[in-house]
Amino acid sequence: MTQTTGKLLGWILGTALAIGFVVVMGQLAIGPAAQSMVPAPATSAGLTEVLFYVLAGVTIAGAAGVALSHNILYSAIGLLMALLGAGSLYVFLSADFLAVAQLLIYIGGVLVLVLFAVMLTNRITEITVSNTSLGLWGGLMLFVAVAPVLLAVALVTPWATITPAAAAHTTETIGDALLSRWLLPFEVASLVLLASLVGAVAIARKEIKAD
């Protein structure tokens, strides 16, 4: 009885937290035009920072899960976490359209495809889907070799400090940019997508023997 009630409460609170999170994000970054006209409410300045650290933590934890987990499905869950975390960070970078595109294309498309492939390439009896690796130490050394360089570049380079413009709606501007300045890449991207569509079908279908 108490266990059920506790579980129920946990569920309700957890999901309410998820809804509240999106509402807050919506109000903070991608609210409607009507709200941006009125003076901003006294949202605490520390909120953005705290959310950034939480989301960055989620992203890195997910990425570590992908690279280090021994069960391939746990890796997929890690990828989900990393993509969700990175997608939420896009909202803070006032890239609302790309955040939703990330959710739709990566999680709805790529991740589902990966899960599909996992299930097609492993037998159901192998409950712990093995996922071999070359060993943690080699990887760790590699990470130690690569990450400091990137970190140093990020920290040492004197990036011009331009105060960023206030969060604006990006859908229209992205649309304009894609069809003016970036028109050629846009068309090429559509060709790439078409070619990959045909290619994927051609590769994955079973060969039909003539005889």
Binding site: E49, F52, A56, T59, I60, A63, V66, A67, L68, S75, L79, A82, A86, L89, Y90, F92, L93, S94, A95, L98, A101, Q102, I105, Y106, G109, L113, V114, F116, T121, N131, T132, S133, L134, G138, G139, L140, L142, F143, V146, A147, L150, L151, A154, W159, I162, P164, T170, I174, A177, R181, W182, A189, L193, A195, S196, G199, A200, I203, A204, K206
Partner: protein, 102 residues
């Protein structure tokens, strides 16, 4: 506002983890997942700079990256499944038929 350096740091770590995963994992599917991680790190960088510079070009490029990643996933997974059908394995080390002896 979180300064742009923090986003770059996060992207660097994400890229590093993805790179490590690509190099140490032998399962083709995990390798592909780690490539997605690296692409995401690149996207994060593009968007961080796009906000800092107030330039929409970063968004456009990130959009292309997402499109190409989707194409890559479709073709890559088709190849993985085709390899699995012929060799019965998704270990990238098993696929070395064309390698020279020695």
């Amino acid at each position: 506002m979180v300064p742009v350096q923090w986003y770059l740091l996060l992207a660097a770590v994400l890229f590093g983890v993805g790179l490590v995963g690509v190099l140490i994992k032998r399962n083709a599917l995990i390798v592909m997942m780690c490539i997605e991680l690296m692409l995401n790190a690149a996207n994060l960088t593009f968007l961080a700079f796009a906000r800092q510079q107030g330039n929409i070009g970063g968004h456009a490029i990130a959009f292309f990256v997402i499109a190409v990643a989707a194409a890559e996933a479709a073709v890559g997974l088709a190849i993985v499944i085709a390899i699995y059908r012929t060799t019965g394995s998704v270990n990238v080390d098993d696929v070395r038929e064309l390698r020279e002896e020695g």
